[in-house]
Amino acid sequence: MDLSYSAEYEAFRVEVAKFLAASWPLQGKEAELAGDQKAARFRGRAIAAGYLARSVPKRYGGSEQASDVLKAQIIREEFFRARAPGDLAGIGPSMLVPTLLEKGAEWQKEKFIGPTIRGEIVWCQGYSEPGSGSDLASLQTRAEIVAGEWVINGQKIWTSGAHVADYMFCLCRTEREAPKHAGISYLLLSMKQPGIEVRPLRQMTGAADFNEVFFSDARTPADWIVGKRGEGWIVSRTTLKHERNMIGDAANTVVMFEGLVALARRTLRDGRPAIDDPGIRQRLVQVEGYVRSHQYSGYRQLTKAVKAQDPGRIGLMNKLVSTNLGQEMAKLALDLVGDDGMLEPSERRLGAPRENGQWIGQFMWSLGSAVAGGTANIQRNVIGERGLGLPRDAAAQRS
């Protein structure tokens, strides 16, 4: 057991740090560019240096580096330290690009991957429908070939970023006679067309990050399909052997916990810092037990990945562990902010420190995270069935 990095990796860390010292923040005239232009310019250089888009081949605009989870981890740590833009987040780079790399046609890779990882085009994901949430494969949005192109009718929901996206990757029912899972195709389409109407869904936080999307004879070319007709379900399940971020999520959790401790230090109870309160101290350390467990569990999974060993069922649990923790920390924070818990999660608070509003936002957002991408109950099904080997329940087995 040794939590340090070998000399080879420490040398790599120095190399990354040197690159960052010279490249970020941008200097001279470039320092006056708009924020996203600065980030785009920096990302171009970081890709050229081999630090970003590492799993993407050079011919599609990536840096095509050999997979190395430790190097990827060092890059994340150093970029985080320097507050430099890392690989673009978002559904396009994280979901579509790996899917195209594995299952896309050559022209699709050439056309879409480069602009997507550079942030020149933005994607949204058309999966969930009003009647198809956890039971996604029951989706009903139809696509059929009419006069040489796909014509799409139906509705998607919870579509994050549909209001700003240029394109959507979308699951549609194309084979009416086929069984549930075999009747679905994975289509790409432009969001900028008359057949598409985007209506924002306002969340309980007050913000509107996701939308309903209505298709009325929306169109896309016949070859904008990834994989074959009826293979969409399998294409959407594509898991890729790219450099998975094993401990980034745990690192975020640690940062959030440190924020919680800071909150307990500066919040007063009966004229004394809340952190002096025996009950608060108990709850903080109780939460910390879970935070550190998650952190060390991340170290172990990273080690397993380095050794190309299966980490076991823990891999199925990370999402639930992380969203549970987000909720527990937010609940404790709400108790700490006291009266401010009656206020909106806005930054325009009279007199209240800005962070209090962020915790109130987290109190609600942590529920969104628990639901998004598979509810906690669905996660428990997955852990129970795939992790513990329990039989599927009879109702799900029938469909």
Partner: protein, 358 residues
């Protein structure tokens, strides 16, 4: 960056696991649990022959010279098997001598503890939650007078490491003048406890006691956390196995979402927490600044998890889970031991808060 076990460490765990499943069968464990004495000397001899008395004892004293992590890995497996015996107290007596003893004391006792010729234990508790070195009140000198509660296998031990005022450590031998042992009705019948009474009993102080007592305590916390992880993981497996076997309404009950989710929730409590005791054991030998606090955190978290998992496991087993006959109760009671021995989770959380400077 390597946060995983070595092949040797995995082999150590496999060896102990094999031994436990071959020799300490559920039937034998049950006989010890239900028996009057609680100490199966043949079983203990077998564990000593595997080297479990010698793991952390340096080579020069007949040990393997390994680290606390290795000792904790053995504790995890013994916890998973709910193996009865004096491993905990015996290991701690050895560590106390190693950290606090004079050269002569080490030379006299460590080889005997490593081989198991002498059975050691520790006597720390003074009642009402007073477990920590700073709580000890017995005055240690040429002789010692007073009593200590909850001494593991006190009725069987040959050598007692007794905590004294100011965080000191003193050695007392069975048979010494004024030394008496009274078995206590401990709930964990796999790890019997006794009260130790000393009346002007001759003792020998360990010279580095005040400096080393906290370290012995921290090692104990890690071993308890490891035992708790092993027991929790085993209870999860037993509960899952039961859910896959038991049939109701014509199907295995594990297909019902209510039970499935309970089991998944148990798994999410147990599985990620393994690293907590690994890290505490690693810090004990390699990260001095974090050693004390990591041990407190691991003990507080894992023993609380164990207690809850034990309650969940009883529920998951239904009516049979509530019977004396079901082995879940053996783990349940080990969880009660792990939780209370050396201080409750709450006590160690408060220590962890103070150690963070909060």
């Amino acid at each position: 960056m390597n946060f995983d076990l070595t092949e040797e460490q995995e082999l150590l765990q496999d060896t102990v696991r094999q031994f436990a499943s071959n020799i300490c069968t559920p039937k034998r464990r049950r006989a010890i649990f239900d028996g009057p004495d609680g100490h199966d000397t043949e079983l203990w001899r077998g564990l000593l022959e595997l080297g479990l008395g010698a793991i952390a004892v340096p080579d020069e004293f007949g040990g393997a010279g390994l680290e606390l992590l290795d000792l904790a890995l053995a504790a995890e497996v013994l916890g998973a098997g709910a193996v009865p015996g004096p491993f905990l107290g015996h290991s701690l007596a050895g560590l106390a001598l190693l950290y606090a003893g004079s050269d002569a004391q080490k030379k006299t006792w460590l080889p005997k503890l490593a081989s198991g010729k002498t059975l050691g234990t520790v006597a720390f508790a003074e009642g009402e939650g007073r477990w920590q070195p700073e709580d000890w009140t017995l005055a240690g000198g040429a002789t010692i007078t007073g009593s200590k509660a909850h001494v593991p296998f006190g009725a069987h031990a040959d050598l007692f490491v007794v905590g004294t005022r100011g965080g000191g450590l003193a050695l007392c031998e069975r048979g010494a003048r004024g030394l008496a042992v009274e078995p206590l009705p401990g709930i964990d019948r796999t790890r019997r406890i006794a009260e130790l009474r000393l009346a002007d009993t001759p003792c020998e102080l360990l010279p580095a006691g005040p400096a080393a007592a906290a370290r012995v305590r921290d090692a104990a916390l890690v071993l308890l956390a490891a035992d708790a992880f092993g027991g929790s993981a085993q209870l999860l497996d037993l509960s899952v196995e039961y859910a896959k076997t038991r049939q109701q309404f014509g199907v295995t009950i594990g297909s019902f979402q209510g039970l499935k989710h309970q089991l998944a929730t148990m798994a999410v409590e147990v599985e990620p927490a393994r690293g907590l005791y690994w890290y505490a054991a690693h810090a004990f030998d390699h990260v001095a600044a974090e050693s004390e606090r990591s041990a407190a955190l691991a003990k507080a978290h894992l023993t609380q998890v164990y207690m809850q998992i034990a309650r969940d496991a009883v529920e998951a087993h239904g009516g049979i889970g509530f019977t004396w006959e079901c082995d879940v109760q053996i783990y349940f009671k080990r969880a009660m031991f792990d939780r209370a021995f050396l201080g409750t989770p709450g006590a160690h959380r408060e220590r962890a808060a103070a150690l963070a400077g909060w």
